[in-house]
Each structure stands twice: as C-alpha cells, then as structure tokens.
Symmetry: C2
Subunit: 194 residues, 2 copies
C-alpha cells in the first residue's frame, strides 16, 4: 500500500506527527479502476473523496438530451469527487469516469468526522485546498464569458499541457464548451498561422 504521494501532498500544507500519519493511513483505502470504469455515477450518492495516485478521470454531467458536459479532468496529485453529493449525501449530478487505468486513495464519508476530530489540522488542509479550487472555478466562469473559444483553448493548453497529451480531442472540446468540429477548425487555423 503506497500512501506516499498523498502524504507528501498533505505535508506540503500541514505537518503530521507519526501517530497522525498512522491514524490517517488506517482510515483511507487504495483502490484501482480500469479504463472506462465509473468512480461515481450520476444519480448515486458519492461517498468517497478520491485522491489520484496514477491515471486520469473526467467528471461530467449528462444533460436532459444525453449530451456530456465535462466539468474537469483530474490527474496525478489531484482530487476527484462529486463534492456536492459527498457533502450532502444526496444523489450525484455528475459522473466520474476513468479515462485510463487509475489508482486512487479514498476518503470515505463515514470516516470523515472521525478523521477531522482526531486530526483537526486536516480541516485546515482541506480549507486551503478548497480555497484554491474555488478561485480556479471562479476564474473559469469569467474566462468562459470573456474569451472566445480559440483563446480558451490556448489557455487550456498552457495550463494543462499534460492533460492534452492523454485525453482525446473530443473530450477537450466538451471541456471547452464547444463541438469537436469547431475545435478541429480552431486547430487548423492555428497551424496555418504559424
């Protein structure tokens, strides 16, 4: 069981004693998923928060017409869960599906209170993580309104160069809120200009 990536990630933000580290490890689990498997499915309750050790996931919402809208990709050293479902233990609005074979470390809802009680510093850790995620999410809302699709694509490439390599283009189009045909057009325009 290799919890090292999570521990070093956590210890970038707070420091843990040896006892705390052991207690934390006793309360989390490693789990492997195959490519295509779902960590959460829309309609089910999401009762884990997942830290990605290796692999990649997409979080998406399927709308009334069955169209997929990708909200985020998560790769190594990032989180993947339907937070809304997790915190209120209500049916999920999103699906989380592995785009590759993926290993995650799972925090379960049942163990969460106990973890926070025994290691209050974890509240701080998650507070900090959430602050960063909220900032990124708010910035994305503005970008989606203020930038045309081509600029959003360039921004995406710059910010997430590793994700573009491992994800098919049609999913990137969905993340950007455009069709795959239009993304293809943008790419050919960019090639012509160089």
């Amino acid at each position: 069981m290799n919890f090292a990536p999570l521990l070093s990630y956590i210890e970038n933000h707070i420091s843990l004693t040896e006892d705390e580290r052991l207690f934390l490890q006793s309360k989390i689990k490693l789990r492997s998923y195959l490519k295509g498997q779902f960590i959460v499915q829309q309609g089910d309750v999401c009762n884990t928060t997942n830290f990605i050790v290796s692999g990649c996931t997409k979080m998406f919402h399927a709308d009334a017409e069955g169209m997929e809208h990708i909200v985020m990709f998560s790769e190594e050293n990032w989180w993947s869960s339907d937070l809304g479902s997790y915190i209120s233990q209500a049916p999920a609005d999103y699906n989380i599906q592995c785009t590759e074979p993926t290993k995650v470390i799972q925090f379960s809802y049942q163990n969460q209170e106990e973890l926070f009680e025994k290691i209050p510093k974890l509240e701080r850790f998650f507070r900090i993580i959430l602050e960063k995620a909220l900032v990124a999410s708010q910035k994305r809302i503005v970008r989606n309104f203020s930038l045309p699709a081509k600029e959003r694509y360039l921004y995406f490439k710059e910010q997430y160069p590793t994700i573009e390599q491992r994800i098919p283009q049609y999913m990137i189009a969905s993340y950007l809120g455009i069709t795959k045909e239009f993304l293809s057009k943008i790419k050919s325009q960019l090639i012509l200009k160089q």
Copy 2:
C-alpha cells in the same frame, strides 16, 4: 457594533464559547460603504474577507476591452471578497463594488492566522462554507454550457428572487453572460407566452 448576524450565521455551523465569541469580536471590524464605493479594486491586493450585514455588492472583472463581467452578487448573510487575491496577497483580478449603501464585517488577512490558531473551529467553519461555494460554482459552469440564455435567466430568478428586485437589468444580463438587449428580448418573449 452589531456582530449578531455574523455570530448567528457562524453558529449555524459550529458552536463558540463566550470567550471565543469575544476574541472573534476583538479581531473583526464593522465598516460602511456608500453606493458605488469599491471594497476591492482590480490591481490592488484584497486584504479583507467581508461578511455582508446589509446592502449588496457586485463582483466583476473588467476585461482588456473594458467590458464588465459580473461573477457574483452578494447580499445580506453572504461573503464578498476576491478570494484569489486574499489568499495569495497578490493583485486582485476582480472589483467589488457596492450597488447600495452596504455594511460589512471585515476579517483582515493580518488577523486571520491568529484567529485560526485561537479558534481552530473556524477552520472547520470556513471549510464548510468553501465546500458549498465550490459546489455552486461548478454547477454554474455546467449550466452556462448546457442551458440556453432563457433557461439560465429563469434559473437565476428562481434561485435569487431577492437579487432581481434590487439590481438593474443590465447587470443581471452581465451576470448571465448576455447583452442587456438580449435579456430584454427574452423578457418580452416570456411575457407574450403567459
């Protein structure tokens, strides 16, 4: 000095001892702004987190062409700050301007660590608030992609009925990511259908 609205808001999520309540009160400040005044201006560092006691604010980004993009409105019992600027103490990307005379309770960046150290439960409180805000923000990203402007407007009216009353239409259009002319068209279509 009336800190009651903040205290009762906090005590919906965690409970404070009398000492903690007094310490908290010693570290926060009430401040009044006139209509039109800025709590933060794009480019400045945001060093307060503001809890709104009365009034209303808009948070917006002015893009390269000077166009305003409204990210959120905040009214009584909600928060208003450029979180990205606050947590990293870097120049703000957003402006926060009062759309009415507004009274806020301010948490300063300088006092924040001390508050968290003396009252660790506040970490939990902010963790919970941030979770909710992040969920709302992610849902908005999906709505912006999956719903046409008319549906987004109807959703806004339903979710924030009190805000529509106190904010001019052209600002609501900006929040929805459409022009004021198009919002006007949507409204007249809705009236015809009834």
